[in-house]
């Protein structure tokens, strides 16, 4: 199959809001921003030993998410030759240095392929090695960008090493490009993931040296185009929005949200974001949802944007909507997590352990802040959903299971007892959760 992702997306479009159960989860948050089709075989309870098909230790440190293609599970990691500073879970003030850390150890930026059936590491390929040229935030890693795949190759971007590469499914590097390693003013190191669409790989890197969005030929690695960006640091993964008007690349940033066409031409832009932009845009109900929400910022916006815009669609003072902004909430945005739209509801997971629910079409509040659990700490992984359940993975490795719908109800808690920042993958009957040191395949007995 030459373009399996395209076929998958076409199937999704033809199927409206129905979400397929597949054995693929090819990018950060999958194709449906954390939602997968109802499937009674998927697990809703687990522990370090219960409903665990396998768990495998992954060397090094990487907060990138796993991706899955049939029986291949890919993860990336920066394997250090020495001791790395240890991060703690939760939200905290790291002090005057703002959490910046320097590594003096050689890193091996590595891609792992695990057998989805057994958890065995099939191969590992070092894409680059050396002393990291950048500082990083204590809670970031040098391998936070989630890879992506089209079923033929796996594509990786290691921003802290300044390299983008494609590997085939045997672990051989097909092509590799040096992009330069750049940091933002806070020197927290990058984390935005690459995205793939119709034979092109899109890479974004906002920094203080030369911010860019670049398109590569996925097959050859040739740069097709590159546009400069007036941004200095963001961690948000771009979103390819195939809407009923056109296909566009949505990028979220502190300066502006910008939409580009597939040739890099600016289509529209939207101001009003806050600093430290992390959440990834996504689409549902014919709109794209965009947000940012650093808790120390005055404004933490969520925008629902309709297709077809051109030019500056920023809200004027006092406006809460306009021709293209369907709705706006000024203080709903999240810091690290991306929001989840499941059915008719827009769920907001605040980093300090609160869940809110709004009408996804109108932005009206369904329920306000609900403390998930008294013992819940910080949240960085984005929520996911299936079988009328919302899953919220906390930084201490506890997944809180919430009943989907207009009333908040905590159904349970599943603990893996290790720091967890990566958003999981869901494929087939299984859930793949990455903790700081391990990758778990969670599946019911008899459904593996």
């Amino acid at each position: 199959m030459r373009h399996p992702v395209r076929v998958l997306l076409v199937l999704l479009l033809l199927g409206g809001v129905a979400v397929p159960a597949t054995a693929q989860w090819h990018q950060f948050r999958g194709t449906q921003a954390g939602v997968t089709a109802d499937n009674p075989a998927l697990p809703d309870t687990w522990s370090e030993t219960d409903n665990v098909a396998w768990k495998t230790t992954i060397p090094g440190l990487g907060w990138s998410s796993p991706i899955v293609w049939n029986d291949h599970v890919f993860v990336t990691s920066a394997v250090s030759s020495g001791e790395e500073p240890k991060a703690l879970p939760g939200l905290y003030d790291p002090g005057d240095e703002q959490g910046k850390t320097k590594s003096t150890s050689v890193q091996r930026w590595t891609v792992f392929d695990l057998d989805a059936n057994t958890g065995t590491i099939r191969w590992q390929t070092e894409v680059k090695s050396g002393l990291p040229p950048l500082l990083r935030h204590i809670k970031n890693s040098f391998a936070s960008e989630t890879p992506t795949t089209d079923g033929e190759r796996v594509y990786v971007f290691f921003g802290s090493a300044g390299v983008v590469a494609a590997l085939d499914f045997t672990g051989k590097i097909v092509w590799s490009k040096e992009m330069g390693a750049f940091n933002g003013p806070q020197e927290f190191a990058p984390a935005a993931s690459p995205v793939l669409h119709k034979g092109r790989l899109y890479v974004i890197n906002d920094n203080t040296t030369k911010s860019y969005l670049a398109a590569f030929d996925a097959g050859t690695g040739e740069q097709v185009w590159r546009v400069d960006r007036e941004e200095t640091e963001n961690w948000s993964t771009p979103f390819i929005w195939e809407n009923d008007r056109r296909t566009e690349i949505i990028t979220s940033g502190r300066g502006k949200v910008r939409s580009y066409d597939l040739n890099g031409k600016l289509l529209w832009e939207l101001g009003g974001m806050t600093g430290n932009v992390v959440p990834t845009p996504f689409s549902r109900h014919g709109m794209v949802y965009i947000s940012s929400g650093y808790p120390g910022a005055q404004v933490r916006p969520v925008y629902a944007v309709k297709p077809g815009a051109y030019g500056d669609i920023s809200l004027k003072p006092g406006e809460t909507a306009n021709e293209y902004v369907a709705w706006f909430q000024p203080r709903l945005g999240t810091y690290q997590t991306s929001a989840l739209v499941y059915g008719e509801y827009f769920y907001t997971l605040l980093d300090r352990g609160l869940l809110l629910c709004h009408d996804a079409r109108t932005g009206k509040e369904v329920y306000g802040r609900q403390r998930i659990a008294a013992e819940a700490t910080g949240f960085t992984a984005s929520p996911w959903a299936y079988n009328d359940r919302i899953f919220l993975l906390g930084e201490e490795g506890d997944t809180f299971v919430i009943k989907a719908g207009p009333k908040f109800e905590l159904l349970g808690r599943n603990s893996l007892n290790e720091m967890s920042l990566a958003s999981p993958a869901i494929a087939g009957n299984s859930l793949f959760i990455r903790t700081q040191s391990k990758l778990y395949k969670i599946a019911k007995r008899g459904a593996r």
Binding site: Y92, G296, R371, T377
Partner: protein
């Protein structure tokens, strides 16, 4: 929660409008340099660093350097004498003094209670740890409130200070900076702009909500609740300028500093009573009656008369050769930490000391 007055107008909106009017007036007053409390601040001694913050009570000064708290006898301010010290598990982010007990916010180690009745040998009296990072603490009677970066304002039962018990947390919208408690009313401030009031008389749940909140207190770093002035207590906030959504700050412009006085006459609807624009950026404030002593960063020490809360009046300024970071007042002795910490100096050598000043002529 948006508090509304009887006409349905959001109180926070009114507070914003009032704040902006007062802000404008504050600028005018500052330009005219009106007279304020006149006193002479005279340097009588200094205590070598490194150090981060200082508080004082009676004849003792308590000076913090990261994890270490050191006690000085300042009964003769011209000759401070080191008595004892205690090292905590984590960095001390804030503390307050109640008699011979010190209550310290100790990051992930939570609330620590130190007995300093024997200042030569302080001993740990009690502690309680909750999730999150403790940033500052305030005590009233048998209750303590802790500003917690993660959870907001934590309420602690300290009926037995040797065995403090966590009761619950009130969520703050932003990152908690400081908390205060007077009787059964607790206050919290957060970044970027929140002032919250909690009725903690009957809290028994793990989580609780404020009885009022405002988002007009721009970048408050600290809250001190005054003694009654004309029968009303005031929350004195040290921080930035009031938030004006119609006038976003020009990128690259220098932030401005204010003391913000909020009337707590009606705890369900605190209102801005007065604003005072300090010459620098207030990093820390210490109250003595109706006088505020401000560690005003590059501007040094600035003294402000709060006796008419609607019209705070600035007076004496004591220039320091390095930024003033923390300040304490006891009797006629003012202690001010000046300098740059090792962290702020990018890991270089700390250049800090505590100046001992006398308010006596």
């Amino acid at each position: 929660m948006m508090v509304r007055d009887g006409r349905g107008v959001p109180v926070s909106t009114l507070a914003t409008a009032l704040a902006l009017v007062l802000w404008s007036q504050a600028g005018t007053r500052a330009a005219q340099s009106p007279p304020g409390p006149s006193m002479t601040l005279t340097r009588v001694a200094s205590i070598p660093g490194p150090m981060d913050m200082v508080r004082a009570s009676g004849t003792r000064a308590y000076i913090v350097n990261s994890k270490i708290l050191t006690i000085y006898d300042i009964s003769n301010p011209a000759s401070p004498r080191r008595e004892g010290s205690y090292e905590f598990p984590e960095k001390i982010w804030g503390f307050r003094i109640v008699g011979s007990l010190l209550y310290l916010a100790n990051g992930f180690a939570g609330l620590q209670v130190l007995d300093v009745s024997n200042p030569a040998k302080p001993t740990l009296h009690g502690s309680v740890k909750d999730r999150g990072q403790s940033k500052n603490v305030s005590v009233s009677g048998e209750r303590a409130v802790v500003a917690n970066h993660m959870t907001g304002v934590d309420l602690i039962d300290i009926a037995s200070p040797a065995n403090p018990v966590f009761i619950g947390s009130g969520f703050l919208d932003g990152y908690a900076r400081d908390a205060s408690i007077i009787g059964n009313v607790a206050y919290g401030v957060d970044a970027p702009s929140g002032l919250y009031v909690f009725d903690v008389a009957k809290i028994t749940t793990k989580t609780f909500d404020p009885i009022s909140s405002s988002q007009d207190a721009h970048t408050p770093q600290q809250i001190e609740v005054s003694d009654p002035i004309g029968g009303t207590r005031y929350a004195v906030l040290a921080g930035g300028e009031p938030y004006d959504p119609t006038r976003p700050r020009t990128p690259g412009s220098r932030p401005r500093g204010t003391l913000q006085l909020w009337s707590l006459r009606n705890p369900t609807a605190p209102t801005v009573a007065g604003l005072y624009r300090t010459p620098g950026i207030p990093r820390h404030v210490a109250l003595q009656g109706t006088t505020a002593y401000v560690a005003d960063s590059e501007a040094g020490v600035h003294v402000v008369d709060l006796s008419t809360p609607a019209k705070p009046v600035g007076g004496t300024t004591f220039k320091t050769d390095r930024p003033a970071r923390s300040i304490a007042i006891t009797g006629s002795t003012v202690l001010v930490v000046v300098g740059t910490t090792a962290e702020a100096a990018g890991g270089g050598e700390a250049q800090t000391e505590t100046l001992v000043l006398s308010t006596n002529p």
